[in-house]
Symmetry: C2
Subunit: 470 residues, 2 copies
Amino acid sequence: MTHRRLFLLWIVLYGRMGFAQEADVKVPIPTPAQRAWQEAELGVVFHYDLHVFDGKKYDQRSNRVSAVADYNIFHPTRLDTDQWILSAKAAGASFAILTVTHETGFALYQSEVNPYCLKAVNWRDGKGDILADFVASCRRHGLKPAIYIGIRWNAFMGVHDFRVQGDSEFARNRQQYYNRYCERMTTELLSRYGKFFFIWFDGGAHGPEQGGPDILPIAEKYQPDAIFYHNLQRADVRWGGSESGTVPYPCWAGFDHPSWFQHRDDKNDFRLLKHGRENGAYYMPAMADAPLRGYQGRHEWFWEPGDEAHIYPVDRLVEMYERSVGHNATLILGLTPDTAGRIPRPDADTLKAFGDAIRKRYERPLAAALGEGRELVLMLPKAQVFDAVDISEDIGKGQRIRSFTVQALVGRRWVTLLSGTSVGHRYIGRLKEPVAAGKVRLVVDGSMGTPWVKQLALYRVGADGAAMER
Amino acid sequence: MTHRRLFLLWIVLYGRMGFAQEADVKVPIPTPAQRAWQEAELGVVFHYDLHVFDGKKYDQRSNRVSAVADYNIFHPTRLDTDQWILSAKAAGASFAILTVTHETGFALYQSEVNPYCLKAVNWRDGKGDILADFVASCRRHGLKPAIYIGIRWNAFMGVHDFRVQGDSEFARNRQQYYNRYCERMTTELLSRYGKFFFIWFDGGAHGPEQGGPDILPIAEKYQPDAIFYHNLQRADVRWGGSESGTVPYPCWAGFDHPSWFQHRDDKNDFRLLKHGRENGAYYMPAMADAPLRGYQGRHEWFWEPGDEAHIYPVDRLVEMYERSVGHNATLILGLTPDTAGRIPRPDADTLKAFGDAIRKRYERPLAAALGEGRELVLMLPKAQVFDAVDISEDIGKGQRIRSFTVQALVGRRWVTLLSGTSVGHRYIGRLKEPVAAGKVRLVVDGSMGTPWVKQLALYRVGADGAAMER
């Protein structure tokens, strides 16, 4: 490939004079954690729980209602969290999440609060701690460890949608017990294993305002630098409104509220979550999540027998990447350790091929520029053929661009290659067909204050990439 | 004491001729287990659970509702089940019961069904098994091991009076889960530790007929020789209607139903349980239970700080014995291992003194006889002073005596010393004042078929024994 033989060429051009730096630009600014979240771009989540071992297809509704009676089915024969993390790393993931508790209530660590944990099983003589293994593997291989804690559903404790069933004094008392149980478990998890990049309470960690545990102060105390996701007061990121691994375009980092759960617009297909709010007062970038085994009629976060045919093919994963990371969202792929305690070979092979494809496309631009202002011109030493444009704002200054055009100088005329609205951390735009040009410019037609472009890059993706549809 | 210096004198006199052995006597006959239960006479039950360690007074109502959150408070520092059993043995107990689960739901063994067990705690690195230790100590010291399993209340699982709270589909499903949980836990307990003498489901092991677990078939399968206590179909023994350690007189072994729970007559102060039914169709002897720490305003089955003053004094225990064992019931004393894991010294000392007192009184009769028939005459080599009469029927033939008189030959006249109704396994009758006589007879005024008297014995209890009141 031509672009592989090129050296990375940085041509820095500052924007036109006259755009002074404003003191009062009204755009929300990410926290350092939110910025790191967007720069992380790709993560994985490992779902692992008792029912992986039951030999049956996963039935979420039943799983939320029926506790797994024989928890000693949990017996991975060759657990290897290094293999998990190396599989994720091969895909290009920079962080990894473990579902330390999901909806059964079973916990993958040595809890002193929740006896329905690895202390209860015969596996590793009751001494196993998969969270500890997982965190160590992340650190060993340079991924940021993150944690998923389920408290909304707990089949073992008989808690359904946060609630102890019934409305007697007995139930109210038990609710208090369960709330303290969640708080104490969260304290264990957030205080014992070092820093987590991201703390994911699936379905929320809704608090005392609706009779639930008071989780947020615990997260703030023990993990002040982590991304908190989420409760009714605070959500550092938002769910992107589907489990398709994509977000539509545009996908703004802004949102109207500091929490999204009560404003998720689910009657309208989560439209608000998907698109965000162009001039939202809160910085809340989107997460696009999807299970790797989500192809052709299946959508499985957990390993189950016979699902290999439902691993997304590489070209679909590349498209997913372009429509999530390339749409200003962070992509999280769901990976499925199996009964052996490993990422199955077909999944690992696909992850490697996916990572290779992304690296081949986007690791080395043909050319790139950065700058401040309404117009940024990228001059190439000679004309190059390219078919993709990759733009990043310096989000440390907030998402400022509201509309833009990318143009190439063809002969003496600036020809518009594409135009768009949201950029944010990253915008990947695929051209309908390759273009040859020596001069390309980004024109910002609308912005909140001065645009700060961290990178304008050109790529030759090639014919293997399908044209993106929106 | 005079009677200590006497050798045991057995004078065997057969009853009058003419009382042929009937073929069709209509009295219920005990099973071998029931017979052993009555012959055991005195047992102990050790209550041990999480809240022993919470430093607070026990509050049963709260305990049934509120799970113990910090179960790692369970940390006996010098657990010694041999010391428990030797304390019981010193009292004269022939069997011992352990509350392997009580109302918290916490289990004192290594369960693979109930994670809220000794696997969950740091004590003994999660490897402790107090039931195993207990059974081994019983066998080592010649007591029969027995087990108490609580399933009616389970604060941890949120089960109250057998029931998962609520009436939604969720609750019904969880009830099924809990039922299987109880069955599988019972299977572990009854299959792993060898033979149990007695299996005590406190509050019952009510079954599928009212939505509960199906426990009885498990007990029948794994412990066919044990006393089953109890469910709505079967109760091999009955609760004696109080926790005073006594039953009133008479206390018949007969009962109207094969189970007592639905016929306990609680509106009438458990009168039916206390007295039984003279001509009841079912053999169901009574249990008289009391906590050793039940004196002067306290009534504590569990160890709690500062209860030493509430240990029954020895004379009260002797009286309790005479009014339970001596009234045809089996006495069970509740003993309280402390936070060290031992029976406290004051309790152990009292048990020893109690055992000594009973042995001093009743180990060696002044004279004794046995025989079949309406009249049994005990002839002493010379006149002896006695103040207690001890009668046992051969209950292998059922409880037959309905009324009787004990008379002494004073001069040439038979003087009635006492008269009664129920004898059964044992009747101890204390005389108002000592009597000197060389010839004593038991006259059975009413019986179902031929009376079979296994023993008519006389004792000199002495002035230290309080006269019994009924």
